[in-house]
Point group: C2
Chain length 450, copies 2
């Protein structure tokens, strides 16, 4: 009998399991997950820590019981797949509770091993009250520590670092973000990061140290972290440290099995989510994607991508035909009233990649100024002088950024030129936008420069 084994059950894996069942009512499906929780929203973890979401159970999409009863998927939590034998169509498994080892035969295999937090190679990362945030277990551990902590240091100013900073400040903690690079949120262009930086430090009392590296975590007699030391020699007292300075794709067992790894360090897959080895598919954070703008491989691990890839893999693994054509790196983050959205490539990426590009930036109200709650948004559009096409956009501010970034994402997917794009007919009501939407105003500016 056909047997599909899925390694990893959080986003891509869980999505694939349910979709495989919908596509094929008969195939045997087993899902192995090293953690206790499967099928949950990892993107929601900062909001659980912030207490916007009270209970971790709320983040669960489907329970193991749901999978077993509704989808007839056999779920093995706290089980690790330790080795893949592609020629024998076998995997070795260890039960993390009993340490019992076993071997299972598969007809098709899906790798959804996800990503992991990179622990910096410095002294003191093993101290108590030093945490990472990847799983529900991590989030519960951090939330448990919060009542007793006063000074939090977050190592890394990426979007998870900034989402966590909000959670800690909302919890009344003295919070510092230490970022190695020139500014937080490095996926944005510098002046956009700088605007968010200013907002967070001036209006929200977040401490941000940029161009700074943590060289050591210092503990007290009880083995708890009590300070961090930075490259500049400074010592900063703290009682909780979150390591959030980077993530990497979890590809060890894939590599070991001879599955091709791309330049980005993640698993190489084709549009059907197939690896280089027959009957082995991969989806989610462990895989690399193609950037639809540059046509180059990138590794941008996002929950939206993982879910779509899981779906595509499931369709193909059950004899269907679906494609995942690539990503734009569309993303959005919120920190208090500010949201920061991006799609396509930034000006600095365009520069690196050698595009002959041009930018236009405007700041406008997000709806008619007389409507209570109208707020500013800053829109930066990037276009290619040669092809006259849009390359990307960044939108930040207290106003409504998400609806605008998705319009640009759609235009990018369609490969619209700026000239074509100016004619989009967006819905207008004073409650929702200005009569000529800020995106169009920005587009008029961009046209002048092309």
């Amino acid at each position: 009998m056909e047997h599909i084994i899925i390694i990893g059950g959080v986003a891509a894996g869980a999505k694939a399991a349910s979709k495989i069942r919908r596509e094929n009512p008969h195939v045997r499906i087993s899902m192995y997950n090293k953690g206790k929780f499967i099928s949950y929203s990892a993107c929601g973890l900062p909001y659980f820590i912030e207490n916007l979401v009270e209970k971790p159970e709320k983040l669960l999409i489907r329970s193991p019981k749901d999978f077993e009863d509704k989808y007839k998927v056999k779920v093995f939590t706290e089980h690790r797949v330790t080795k893949i034998h592609p020629t024998q169509y076998q995997v070795d498994i260890v039960d993390l509770n009993s340490n019992e080892k076993s071997t299972e035969q598969y007809s098709k295999l899906l790798l959804a091993t996800g990503a992991h937090v990179c622990i910096p190679n410095i002294e003191g990362t093993g101290l108590e009250n030093v945490h990472i945030l990847k799983s529900i277990e991590d989030a519960i551990a951090i939330k448990d520590k919060m009542p007793k902590c006063k000074k939090v240091i977050i190592v890394g100013g990426g979007y998870i670092g900034i989402e966590l900073a909000e959670a800690f400040i909302q919890g009344g903690k003295d919070t510092t973000v230490i970022e190695m690079g020139p500014d937080i949120l490095s996926h944005l262009d510098d002046e956009m990061s700088q605007e968010v930086h200013t907002y967070l430090t001036h209006e929200k009392n977040l401490h941000i140290m940029t161009n700074n590296k943590v060289t050591k975590l210092i503990g007290n007699k009880e083995g708890k972290v009590s300070a961090v030391q930075t490259e500049s020699g400074k010592e900063l007292a703290c009682d909780l440290v979150i390591l959030s300075a980077g993530v990497g794709p979890s590809v060890d067992i894939a590599k070991d099995a001879g599955i091709a790894i791309g330049k980005t360090g993640a698993i190489k897959v084709d549009r059907r989510m197939q690896t280089n080895i027959r009957d082995i598919y991969a989806a989610g954070d462990c895989t690399e994607q193609v950037n639809m703008i540059t046509d180059k491989p990138v590794w941008i691990p996002l929950g939206s991508t993982a879910n779509k890839q899981g779906r595509v893999a499931a369709i193909n693994m059950t004899g269907g035909d679906a494609e995942f054509t690539g990503i734009l790196g569309s993303s959005i983050t919120k920190a208090f009233e500010y949201s920061m959205a991006k799609t396509g490539i930034s000006a600095k990426e365009a520069e690196e990649l050698g595009y002959n590009y041009v930018c236009a930036t405007i700041t406008n109200k997000d709806r008619s100024g007389y409507i209570p709650g109208a707020e500013n948004i800053t829109i930066k559009l990037i276009a290619d002088k040669d092809s006259k096409k849009l390359l990307g956009a960044q939108i930040i501010g207290k106003g409504d950024t998400d609806k605008r970034i998705n319009v640009i994402a759609t235009a990018l997917t369609a490969g619209m030129t700026v000239k074509e794009f100016q004619h989009i007919d967006l819905s207008y009501s004073p409650l929702f936008s200005t009569s000529i939407d800020p995106i169009i105003v920005a587009t008029y500016e961009l046209l002048k420069k092309l």
Copy 2:
């Protein structure tokens, strides 16, 4: 010296005036407006009546003084242009206060005469407390009456009727909408209108009578409206009536001057906003547009269109080159927590036009279900079975409809097929959407049917 005369100063006219000045610092510009107020947001009038906007001045974008000082535009309010003499390049003008008549020479003329409310041809429309809503003056008059009124009848369930209904209910009035057609918001498909209808009657206590025609307005001894009589013979007591059963383009002087009128009854213009008569342009609610989906002329008067057309006319009237390529009829309305958005054509329009079309409707949460404030939206997508392209969408609900409708509007402008559209990479955070956005879920459903 060149002299540009603009007839009408609310949306398209005011926009054109400021844009003409930006394009040409020297040309003489005169703007004539029959009302007292120019350059204001007519779309904001219901929110002034609702008191979301306290003072009518808030709705003013630029004052006559702004125009004179900043843009060197000579503004004549309460002046009516009574006749155009195209061969002589002259217009006849009457000062509505002094009744003084004059004639002015123009080198280029812009018609921005807008639209008017159609007063039904029934008895009693001249009674006191019977109002229309078109201008700021109208809105002030209605708002003045509100404190003394208890029972309001709105004749017409279009979006202005519904926006007004919200205003009256918020003001504690017993409010009834009487609609001639089978349901309110007739630009939507029936089942979508029905959902809004149910919401408004069940949750908001609005009375709605459909398939019903008002045949007579009845007055009391003081000449104030006291009841309306309907076709069915029913008499409904009231102390305030708003006539909102239709609008028409204001084209009398255009017609009189031999300017071509389209099938829709509005002025025919090309993409450069030129009429059939040399040096006479038209923009805004008095003109018809081309529907980008059907390539047919339509008359959908909207503030967003008016502003863009005013801009395009201004550029072309000053020697530049710009185009207005058409509309999708994208619109959005709000009634309490519900918003109703549309772009492209509805299923009933597709039916009338003979398309071989298919629809998919889903109801999903607008963001991750565990985030407080997540609400349902219902998405209906319409596609062409022959071309496999999207034709239109309607999105309604308490959740975030506006950002989704604009994504579809962009896809429609780009002429995307449903297959291409499924690959859009939208930004995701649990605060803003589900990991696979409801639009994509609806698209997957649509694909199954194609």
